[in-house]
Symmetry: C2
Subunit: 206 residues, 2 copies
Amino acid sequence: MRSGRRPGSPDTRQVILDAARDAFAEKGYDTSSVRAIATRAGVDPALIHHYFGTKEKLFLACMDAPVDPHAVIAVIVAAPRDRIGNQIVRVVLGVWESPAGTAAAALVRTSISGEWHARLLREFLTTQILRHLAAPLGLDAAEAPLRTNLVASQLVGLMYTRYILRLEPLASAPVEELVEIIGPNVQRYLTGDLDLTGTGAATADR
Amino acid sequence: MRSGRRPGSPDTRQVILDAARDAFAEKGYDTSSVRAIATRAGVDPALIHHYFGTKEKLFLACMDAPVDPHAVIAVIVAAPRDRIGNQIVRVVLGVWESPAGTAAAALVRTSISGEWHARLLREFLTTQILRHLAAPLGLDAAEAPLRTNLVASQLVGLMYTRYILRLEPLASAPVEELVEIIGPNVQRYLTGDLDLTGTGAATADR
C-alpha cells in the first residue's frame, strides 16, 4: 500500500483513514465514533478533527469519492417535487458520463469483490446519499428508507447495465431520453402511492 | 484450471467450451458459428453437436447457468400480459432466493471483474434471456431491445442492492411486497406508453 506524500504526517493521516474504513465497514457509520476510530488508530481524537474536520468529512475522505455527494444531492432536491425522479436520473447519469464516472465505476467494481468493500459502499450509500435525499424531500420517516433503497436499486442497475455490461441499445441511448423514460419510475418509488405496510417500513430506521 | 472428469473425452469437451466462450465474448453469439468454434477448438463440428447438441445448448453449457433460462421465461410469459411485470419480479427473486442464487451471484461478480466476462454475460442476457422474453409478449420488434434492456436495468439493480450490497430494509423485505411495489415499474417498461422515438429503437436490432 502506498500512502500519498502530503504535508504534515502522511503516515498518521493514512493510519487514521485505514482505521476509519475498518470501523465503518465493521461497525457501521452511525455506531463508529471519532473517539473509537482514534483508539483504533492509536492517535488522539483531536488529530482526527485536525486532519479531517467532522466524522462525515472523514468518511468522504475514506471513500475517495469522485464527487461530493452532498453537492450532487443539493442539485437534485432543487428540482420541483414532482420532477425529482427525472432530476435524479439526469444528475446521476451526468456524473457517470463525466470523468468522475470512471472513479465511480471503480468503487462499484471494488464493492462487488468482497464483503468488506460491499459493507463500506452500503454504509456510504445509506448514510451519505440516501439519507440526505429523504429529509429535503419531506419523505415520511418510516417509509423513506425503503423508498430510497428502491431508487438505489433502479439507479445502480442502470449504471451496471449501461456502463459495465453495456447492454445495447441502453448503453447508447441519449441521456435526456432515459431521463424521460426512467424518471417516472424513480418518481413513483419516491412519492407514489405504494403499499408499504408489509415491508417493515414502520419499524426499520435506516 | 481443472477440467471435470466426465465419460468420453473430457479434454475435448473442455477445449470446445473454452473455444466457445472466447468466440461468444469476442465475436458475439449471433456471429459465432458452430463451424467457427470447431475451427478455433481444432475439432470437427460434428463433435460439438455430439457433445452439446445446438449452439444454444453449447452457450448454456459455457455459462454453467444455475437454472435453464428458457424454463424460467416459460413461467414468466405464462402470466396474463398485464401482470407480466409482477411475474418477472416474482420469478427472478424466486431464483435468487433459491440455492441457484449463489451461483447466479457468482456470475454477476465475475462479470464485473473484467471486460471479457462482462461481454460474455451481456451476450447471454441479450440472446438467451431478453430476446426470448420479447417474442412471446408480442413486443414491437423495434422497441423490444430497449424495453427489455430497461427491465434488465431494474432487475440487475434489485439483485445487486438486495443480495450483494444488502441495503436495508430492501434486503429484508418479503418477496411478495417487492412484487407489488416493483412489478408495476417493470410492467411500464415492457408495455407502457414510452416515448422511444429518440433512442434509436427504430434502428437497433438487439
